[in-house]
Amino acid sequence: MREISSKAVVEPSAEIADDVRIGPFTYVGGGVRIGAGCIIKNNVTITGRTTLGARSSVFPMAVIGVSPSGEEADGECIIGEANAIREFVTIYAGRARPTRLGIDNLLMIGSVVEAGATVGNHGIFANCTHICEGAIVEDYVRASAFPVIEPGVRVGAYTFINGYAGVDRNVPPFAIVEGMPVRVRGVNAENLKRCGFGDQDIRALKEAFRELFNGSSAQADAAAIARLESQGQLNPHVRGLIEAVRCGGGGNG
């Protein structure tokens, strides 16, 4: 059963699926589509051409689909299923290209996703994570509080971003990164374990990281890339890592 508060303002042209709950004082604009089973709490603003996937929840004071320039919201924002968008999160709509959020992400209090940013699936972003314009965040990324992912930067899958980090260049997958300027500190073994990676894979990745990033550095070592590639049987995840680093995923971008 649909449950829309009589104190909510929902434009007539908004497409609201069944089973959607909308709390009081929430505004849903005319270009918005909300999927089945979404829970929108009170005092939320959803505007622009925004699509919110099924079973997502939006908490009080969150703002989705606004235009960064403050002009009339005509950008696009595509949000997948089962995302949790917590209090005070702002997701801007992209004009040149839509702002995209995959499935099953958790954006904690006060996080910001700027226009045209792309966030993958299953990410967890702690309070006040700032994902800037056009940044790309791959799947299963974890972020501690207050990091800034700068415009156009790519964050590799399974990577953990430490608190207060300024991610000012591309960072590889599987890593723990920290600091400003950002540097690679090691392999995100805990997250990999939780995501079902075997001991052997994790060990291979650890060795590769030691070669590539020499303990802790921002730049992948070019000679080490060649050395690793010359090895015969390469672990598929290590191959993925090298490819990412080659395409500018390891500080070269």
């Binding site: 004071m61 005070f88 958790l106 006040c128 600091g179």
Partner: protein, 292 residues
């Protein structure tokens, strides 16, 4: 006043004291209790099983009692308790507890939380604590009486912040902060650590002069000394310490016993001792029955 009623939503089963004030665009959920003279300025949301005492002020946009951001939360009727005479700035958020973390988030009396602060699930904030803007507490944290946490600092899960200590601005706190000390980074990128005695804290604690002298000496011996902390604590214990100094030594000892300098890590996945102390009796009895 008829007009105002339209602009807010108070669930009929919420218990709001007659002289509490609930401003425009506020939303008060069914299991909420709001004490006398507490003021919700505007656009404040209160949900969950939340109890708020008397004489609190919540500025515009606070969100209280929302479900925890912890993925272990299973949707149970966990609690948020807020005491008396607290001041909450704009956009402050406080969450209810989790089942595995002790069912309760507790905020004591006479605290100040500036704009954007966040008090997460299962935190215990005592009295006379001051939070600067955008201070973020992760879960399961204990903040003792009189602590000051400055702007933009973030506190790691399971950390304990000692009595009358100070955490400098923009400091990531990943280990316990001993009482009466200053915890900050020396330079912008150095590891934050104890960097001195928090004088204002000592004077706010208003200790008897003899005890204050002992405390200062103990602080110097513990933190201005080349020996391992463990050795120094033992030396002090051997001298026979009491009062505030004994508490200080006990605090440091517990932090050493914990994991990564965090005493409360020992309660990971368990009900912490504070739950027994602060949970309503019936609630505690029920949890104790369910405990393995």
């Amino acid at each position: 006043m008829a007009e105002l009623k339209v602009l807010r939503e108070i669930d009929p089963s919420a218990r709001v004291a007659p002289d509490a004030s609930v401003g425009p665009y506020c939303v008060v959920g069914p299991n909420v209790t709001i004490g006398p003279r507490t003021r919700l300025v505007g656009r404040v949301s209160v949900s969950g099983h939340t109890t708020i005492g008397s004489d609190n002020v919540f500025e515009a946009g606070c969100v209280l009692g929302a479900v925890p951001q912890d993925l272990k939360y299973a949707g149970g009727p966990t609690l948020l308790h807020i005491g008396h005479r607290n001041r909450f700035g704009r956009f402050v958020t406080a969450h209810i507890g989790t089942e595995s973390g002790g069912y309760l988030t507790r905020i004591g009396d006479d605290n100040v939380f500036m704009d954007g602060s966040h008090i997460a699930h299962d935190c215990y904030v005592d009295d006379h604590v001051c939070f600067g803007r955008n201070v973020m507490l992760a879960g399961h944290i204990r903040v003792h009486t009189g602590a000051v946490i400055e702007e933009l600092s973030g506190v790691h899960h399971f950390v304990t912040i000692g009595r009358y200590s100070r955490v400098g601005a923009r400091t990531p706190v990943r280990r316990d902060v001993p009482p009466f000390t200053e915890f900050l980074s020396a330079e912008s990128d150095s590891t934050p650590a104890v960097r001195g005695i928090y004088e204002a804290g000592i004077s706010r604690a208003a200790l008897p002069s003899e005890e204050e002298k002992d405390l200062r000496r103990a602080l110097h011996e513990l933190f201005d000394n080349e020996f391992a902390l463990q050795t120094r604590i033992e030396q002090l214990f051997n001298l026979g310490v009491e009062g505030e100094v004994a508490e200080l030594c006990k605090f440091c000892q517990q932090s050493l016993r914990g994991v990564y300098g965090r005493y409360r890590e020992l309660f990971r996945g368990r009900i912490p001792p504070e739950a027994r102390q602060y949970l309503p009796r019936e609630q505690w009895a029920q949890i104790a029955r369910e405990m393995p």
